[in-house]
């Protein structure tokens, strides 16, 4: 690398810190607001330093909820979001890895047709077929259920393609050695392919968990009961734009709680996250 002289280096550091400040500022404000008194905020008198209501606000947010129309404790919303995110991530990995296995390691009639049927789903997010999907979930009596929340979001090809790509790079000789060692298809999958896919599964899990946790439009449509709300839907129902009744400290505490799990995953599992992001976008 071309060595940079001192001055330029300082400029680079400065620009990066400005970037970090811009990226972090809204979140800082949210954290600050979640520790202050609502009356102060509603008057536009909010301080830029943390207040003293931290425990009070978070206790109320997690275990009680707002005093307004939706009285659902955010703790329960987080549980719903967690179940949905896990169901999406695990469900998608599970069904994708076995179908990718079939497509790569077997020859059977309609193999390519099936591959294309799955592949095409890559192109269309759930948003463009939202009402017909809603109708089907309603007909299957899956409104307000975890299955209804997760299944339509599992119907996508990204993970299948990823595993297919990965399986293609596994040397043929491993399968041949397994055959000579007396392992059949299921045993080869379980003893060799699955352990080799561990890193890919983990990377994919990180990404899918974040995507699942952050789902919004779909849960908004199919959850009608307050106790089935996810946290993303819950937070929207807390703000009433025209109304002065919005309890901002609780809204901000909910925002912080909504960010916490996925941000933690990104920071704690940065390597897997980066890998998963790059691989799923390929």
């Amino acid at each position: 690398m071309v060595e940079e002289e001192g001055f330029r280096r300082y400029v680079a550091h400065a620009i990066l810190w400005i970037g970090i400040a811009i990226v972090a500022f809204p979140v800082y404000i949210a954290i600050v607001a979640s520790t202050q008194d609502n009356a102060l905020i509603a008057n536009g008198q909010m301080s830029l330093l943390p207040g003293g209501h931290f425990f009070e606000v978070y206790y109320k947010t997690i275990f009680v909820g707002t005093s307004g129309s939706t009285r659902e404790p955010v703790g329960n919303m987080m549980l719903n979001s967690l179940v949905m995110a896990l169901a999406i991530a695990i469900g998608k990995i599970a069904i994708s890895i076995i179908s990718a296995y079939a497509i790569v390691y077997f020859r059977f009639p309609f193999r390519m047709a099936i591959f294309w049927i799955i592949f095409i789903t890559l192109m269309l997010p759930v948003e463009v077929r939202i009402y017909p999907t809603y109708k089907i979930v309603a007909d299957l009596h899956m409104l307000d259920s975890y299955a209804g929340l997760a299944l339509p979001l599992i119907a996508s090809a990204t993970a299948t393609l990823l595993f297919r790509q990965f399986f293609m790079t596994v040397p043929d000789e491993l399968l041949e050695a397994s055959r000579i060692d007396g392992a059949g298809p299921l045993r080869f999958f379980w003893d060799t392919l699955l352990p080799l896919s561990r890193t890919n599964m983990a990377a994919l899990f990180v990404i899918l968990f974040i995507l699942g946790w952050n789902q919004y439009l779909w849960p908004l449509l199919i959850t009608t009961r307050d106790d089935m709300q996810t946290i993303q839907v819950g937070i929207r129902k807390m703000i009433t734009t025209t109304d002065a009744l919005t309890e901002w400290p609780i809204v901000m505490a909910t925002a912080v709680l909504a960010m916490l799990p996925p941000v933690f995953v990104v920071v704690a599992m940065q390597k897997l996250f980066v890998r998963g992001l790059v691989e799923t976008e390929k």
């Binding site: 690398m1 970037g19 179908s99 059977f108 269309l124 017909p132 952050n214 839907v233 960010m259 990104v266």
Partner: protein
């Protein structure tokens, strides 16, 4: 590309693809087909009967100025979000690509907003720029700006673009950094020896070598702006004031939910599908060369 080493089995492969195939058929193809069929039907006011009306729903749509406005608005939003987010992210990535102390720390501190959900992004920004209680609104008013995004459509649009671009910075930053790190260091060294000053090096060497990444990110950002802004818009402005922040996806949602006009909503869905397929096609054609089918 095919594996040479395979297993022989008649039923097992079908059993293995069955779960995914079932889910895809029930929750993807069936609704997509329904959307297409629905878009050719006109329902009566009570939803009791429907008649086949060919392209009438589409024609109505194209004649509707509100729809046309939404199309233009969506594209304006998309480009504004993509360009602003990409340029800021590129600046940061070029800085972070330098051999600086603590560059890993910078990366960590810049990538986490990827994990913030769109509705939360909306909440964060409307809170900061809320006309009556926002922290930043005070300063704007201090500067003499008549700031009220809840009443002024242009301000509302600007606010949404700002929030959406903010969320996308980390994603773009990550891919730019990866793209920069993939450029061999010796190329920069050769350019330096050839007498190119840093700024010139950037425009004549870095930027052209990064162009595949830029193009890829442009497409991804546009698709993002089409769909993922829904959560931001819904928490910030709910399409308002008036219809000044209604994008195509938001319109599908609000027309279907509030208007109950399923035929039109379905026709809009189909048009969206076509747009996404075109965008994805472009992406595969020009960017996606790594995958061979």
């Amino acid at each position: 590309m095919q594996k040479q080493a395979i297993f022989q089995s008649k039923l097992l492969p079908y059993a293995l693809v069955a779960p995914q195939l079932a889910i895809v058929l029930i929750f993807f193809y069936w609704p997509a087909l329904q959307a297409v069929i629905q878009s050719f039907l006109l329902q009566d006011a009570f939803g009791l009967s429907s008649t086949f009306v060919w392209f009438e729903n589409y024609i109505e749509l194209f004649k509707d100025p509100a729809y046309f406005e939404a199309v233009v608005r969506t594209f304006v939003f998309s480009f504004a979000i993509a360009v602003s987010s990409l340029s800021f992210a590129l600046l940061l990535a070029v800085m972070a690509d330098k051999p600086l102390r603590g560059s890993m720390l910078y990366r960590t501190l810049l990538i986490w907003p990827y994990a913030v959900a769109p509705p939360v992004v909306g909440v964060l920004w409307i809170f900061m720029l809320h006309p009556s209680l926002g922290v930043l609104s005070r300063y704007l008013r201090g500067l003499g700006v008549d700031w009220n995004p809840l009443l002024d459509g242009n301000q509302a649009a600007g606010l949404i673009i700002l929030a959406a671009a903010w969320k996308q910075i980390s994603y773009n930053f990550l891919f730019f950094l990866a793209g920069l790190q993939a450029i061999p260091r010796s190329v920069f060294e050769a350019a330096a020896i050839d007498g190119a000053r840093p700024m010139r090096r950037f425009w004549t060497v870095t930027f052209p070598l990064l162009s595949p990444t830029i193009f890829f990110l442009l497409v991804v950002n546009i698709v993002y702006a089409f769909f993922d802004t829904f959560g931001i818009i819904d928490t910030m402005t709910r399409g308002g004031p008036g219809t000044s922040t209604v994008t195509l996806v938001y319109k599908v949602y609000s027309d279907g939910l509030l208007g109950g006009n399923l035929g039109s909503s379905a026709a809009q869905s189909v048009i969206l599908m076509v747009m996404v397929i075109v965008l994805t096609g472009i992406q595969f054609r020009f960017v996606e060369r790594k995958v061979t089918y």
